[in-house]
């Protein structure tokens, strides 16, 4: 129990500032790992932290994991994901260092590990927890004690013993084969005196061992076989004849030759497996960065995948600095020393490797690899924290080049799609600006012409006009000025929506009250309009922005009145759908209606239904403003019409509340009774 942490499972809750700091659960990928995961999960859930399950494999592309281990690992990861944790595979020679680095990257303050296995080695050795604690940094270590006598523990101990034994096993077999075949031949010599040195059974044994267990045991068996044959199989009383020396030499040569050849096969297979693993890694890399959507996502995928594949700490550098200098694009916050920046620029400009492990700017902390797109250099990859071996391994360089090529393509693709989106926005903005100019020149000048004309008439001829004409002109000035005011209000509102400055300031409000305020504001416009309001009784309060919803109603009512013949009724109705917790306000008129081909565009900016017979004054902004405001509230707006001259109905549908705020008006209705 020396591993039992003096640290407390409750430690992470003590500090509220680190409330969201994740907990890292480190597993060995053995059968007992499920216990560690369950313990870690209980700890994380109790403290309300997110948690990771992390396994560190020692450089995996250069070594294969045993089958049982990867099975247990798969099961443990599946369990972790079922319990709501996130999983990560790290690669590194030093497990403790890899874990500490991962914890630092994720901002974790607690690492949970399982209790170390007892081990067969009698010498005391440092446990993972001790190694983790030795490192600096604000990371606590918590050890999950193992339940004694569980199947996992025993199986693990047994497999540990087996693993130790399995290294020596081929040599034991080789020795047995050598001794066995020698004894067999000696037995034959006792039975049949005239049989001379019979090397063939020994050769057969050597070939068997070499094929089965590889060149090492094969060579070992050869030597042992030759020695034993030399000692026991020479007929004339322990004296070597030239004949038997030739036999023994032949035996040794055949054994060595077979072992050498088998060694080549083994190496070729290992290389093939390595290559296959790398191809798989490349394939996964291409797939994952291809699936990333935004530029930032692509960069993150690149860095995470390369870190994963190479067991390195990667940075992506793009020419985003002043004068096109390379800057770290991901991960943000990665530091770039002067020599690193220089090495990166070299790689970028000369399309060549530079930095650590190369002959160019060796003092840099990372190896820099250029990223080249089909047409131009894109940037550079900085690979840090790779053991010295990596830089000189041609396979490693080949892999790095392939990764850099794929990364370049992905970055270029993200950049192109962003540029296309920008171009589209620009084109839209251009047509918007044109529409705005024509709208302003027409719709703002018309009322101004009336105002200037009427005012100058009054100024010049006021004395000669009769009282009624003077009143008419004055009324025209006032009405047109108010129209101007409405246009400007709409333009401003649209501008605010365009820059995304519209955030509903929600309050609990009565719908009746919004409707009343809208009618009040319309004031003058309503004097010869017949507005009928039908509000369902006992409507609950709604959690909306009073001013914005009022604005929507004002615009919709203005529209209905403008497109209706004088005196035609306009009906405003409000109904609640308590089941869906939504309400709907509809404004129906008996006016010009909307042609079917216009229905789809009626909420577009500056779109105005064209009528040959009449031209309705307006900016063509009103309905798109309504749409913007209603959508900012999480609601919908729609228009319906049977066709031209059959009237129109506009409806908005909104939730009573946003969901995050509880309705608190229930207590208030008690007094109403």
């Amino acid at each position: 129990m020396d591993d039992q942490s003096p640290g407390q499972p409750t430690a992470p809750t003590a500090d509220n500032a680190q409330q969201t700091a994740p907990i890292v659960v480190a597993i060995r990928g053995t059968a007992a790992s499920t216990q560690t995961v369950q313990g870690g999960q209980r700890l994380a859930v109790a403290a309300g932290h997110p948690w990771y399950v992390v396994h560190v494999t020692r450089p995996s592309l250069f070594r294969r994991a045993t089958a049982t281990r990867s099975d247990a690992l798969t099961r443990t990861f599946a369990l972790a994901e079922r319990l709501g944790g996130r999983t990560a595979m790290l690669r590194g020679r030093n497990v403790a260092r890899g874990l500490r680095r991962f914890a630092a990257r994720e901002g974790a303050t607690l690492i949970v590990v399982g209790q170390s296995r007892p081990g067969l080695c009698p010498l005391p050795r440092k446990t993972l927890a001790q190694k983790l604690r030795r490192g600096t940094g604000p990371v606590d270590v918590h050890v999950i004690a193992k339940q004694v006598g569980t199947e996992g523990g025993w199986r693990e101990m047994r497999s540990h013993a087996t693993r130790l034994a399995s290294a020596f096993y081929p040599y034991l077999v080789g020795a047995a084969v050598a001794v066995g075949t020698t004894a067999f031949v000696q037995g034959l010599q006792h039975l049949f005196k005239d049989i001379e040195a019979l090397g063939m059974p020994v050769v057969a044994g050597v070939v068997f061992v070499a094929l089965r267990y590889g060149p090492g045991p094969g060579l070992y068996t050869t030597l042992l076989g030759v020695a034993l044959s030399g000692v026991f199989l020479t007929p004339a009383g322990h004296r070597l004849t030239p004949d038997s020396i030739a036999t023994l030499a032949c035996l040794g040569a055949i054994g060595a030759g077979v072992s050498f050849y088998v060694g080549r096969i083994h190496r070729a297979r290992a290389a093939g497996e390595l290559r296959e693993a790398r191809l798989r890694a490349l394939f996964r890399f291409g797939r994952d960065i291809g699936a990333a959507a935004g530029a930032q996502d692509v960069l993150r995928a690149i860095v995470e995948q390369i870190d994963d594949i190479l067991g390195a700490r990667t940075v992506v550098l793009l020419p985003t600095g002043p004068e096109g200098l390379l800057q770290v694009a991901y991960p943000s916050g990665a530091e770039l020393s002067a020599s690193d920046a220089e090495a990166a620029e070299w790689a970028y400009h000369f399309d060549d490797l530079s930095g650590r492990g190369t002959n160019t700017i060796e003092e840099a902390t990372r190896l820099y690899h250029p990223m080249r797109g089909p047409e131009q250099p894109i940037g550079a990859l900085g690979i840090g924290d790779v053991g010295q071996h990596g830089f000189h391994d041609p396979e490693y360089r080949w892999l790095l080049e392939a990764l850099a090529g794929l990364a370049a393509i992905a970055i270029e693709r993200a950049d192109l799609s962003r540029r296309m989106a920008d171009a589209r926005v620009l084109a839209e903005a251009d047509s918007l600006r044109a529409a705005l100019l024509s709208s302003i020149s027409h719709d703002l000048r018309t009322p101004l012409a009336t105002i200037v004309g009427s005012a100058s008439t009054l100024q010049s001829y006021g004395a000669n006009l009769d009282a009624e004409t003077r009143r008419d002109l004055l009324a025209a000035i006032r009405e047109e000025a108010e129209r101007l005011n409405r246009f400007i209000r709409n333009l401003l509102e649209m501008a605010k929506l365009e820059v995304g400055a519209v955030v509903p300031k929600r309050q609990w409000v009565a719908l009746e009250e919004i409707i009343g305020a809208a009618l009040e504001r319309l004031g003058k416009l309503l004097h010869d309009a017949d507005i009928r309001t039908e509000v369902a009784p006992e409507m609950p309060l709604a959690y909306v922005d009073f001013v914005q919803i009022e604005q929507v109603l004002v615009i919709m009512l203005e529209n209905a009145i403008a497109y209706s013949p004088a005196g035609a009724p306009v009906t405003l109705s409000a109904v609640a759908d308590p089941a869906a917790s939504r309400f709907r306000i509809s404004i129906a008129d008996h006016g010009a209606g909307i042609a079917p081909q216009d229905l789809g565009h009626i909420f577009d900016k500056f779109y105005r239904a064209q009528y040959r017979d009449r031209k309705i004054a307006g900016t063509g902004l009103g309905l798109s403003i309504c749409k913007g405001l209603i959508e900012a509230h999480g609601g919908t707006i729609r228009a319906e019409s049977e066709g031209r001259n059959l009237g129109a109905r506009f409806s908005i549908e909104l939730p009573f509340e946003t969901g995050e705020t509880p309705a608190r008006h229930g207590t208030m209705n008690a007094e109403r009774a």
Binding site: L492, W508, E520, H665, M668
Partner: protein, 232 residues
């Protein structure tokens, strides 16, 4: 020379000042003017006006600061000129001690109603008219009686308190926070839903068409106002 109450107009737009001067002068008000915030504070101290009409957008300083500076030593009623879309500004101005606001552009009728309400508030601090009457609505603060078209209306105690608060400030805007603080208490200033419900109930009882109120009108995003009878 007009000898009515003295009104200080603070606006940097000469056209606005000209129009205000003409319409206020026509009602026998004595008008003094200032173009800047600094000038406003000095003129206010020198002339001791009965009412200040203050535009919030001044060239030299923030109108909100002008209010705060004047409020350091004077209780003169301040009527703020503001543009729509600035509900937060309006509430800020009222919180800093402005008495009311009027939204540009405005008609002269609306202006005169605000000016009168603000002036009346400035002149009589304590001797409130015991009876408020507008149209069919009649509120007798002494007898605690409310009637509509001669028929007595029964209000719950809270409804009456709310109506009383509106009546004692008739013609002036009262923010949600003001009403909640004075009727429900300082602990409830954020509970605007109380206010919505009670205003709805009051309107049911005193308005002929609660959806289109004539007496208790909504100032969108700011608060409520009890309308006064239109002057002769």
């Amino acid at each position: 020379m007009p000898n009515g109450p003295k009104i200080l107009i603070v606006d940097d737009e000469p056209q606005i000042r000209r129009f205000l001067r003409a319409s206020l002068g026509a009602h026998q008000f004595h008008v003094v003017e200032a173009e800047t915030g600094d000038g406003a504070i000095k003129t206010c101290a020198a002339e001791q006006p009965d009412l200040t009409i203050l535009d919030l957008g001044l060239p030299d300083m923030d109108g909100l600061d002008v209010i705060a500076r004047i409020r350091e030593w004077s209780t003169v009623p301040i009527l703020v000129l503001s543009v729509r879309a600035d509900e937060a500004d309006k509430i800020d101005a009222l919180d800093r001690g402005a008495d009311d606001y009027i939204t540009k552009p405005f008609g002269v009728g609306e202006l005169m109603a605000r000016v009168r309400a603000a002036l009346r508030h400035g002149m009589q601090a304590n001797d409130q008219e015991p009876v408020f009457a507008n149209g069919d609505l009649r509120v007798d603060l002494v007898r605690r009686q409310v009637s509509v078209a001669g028929n007595e209306v029964h209000l719950s105690p809270k409804e009456y308190d709310l109506l009383k608060e509106l009546v004692t400030h008739s013609g002036r805007v009262l923010t949600h926070q003001h009403l909640l603080r004075n009727v429900w208490g300082p602990a409830h200033v954020e509970e605007t839903q109380y206010l919505r419900v009670y205003i709805g109930q009051l309107r049911q009882k005193v308005e002929s068409d609660p959806a289109r109120p004539r007496y208790i009108v909504t100032e969108p995003g700011v608060g409520y106002r009890l309308k006064e009878p239109v002057a002769e």
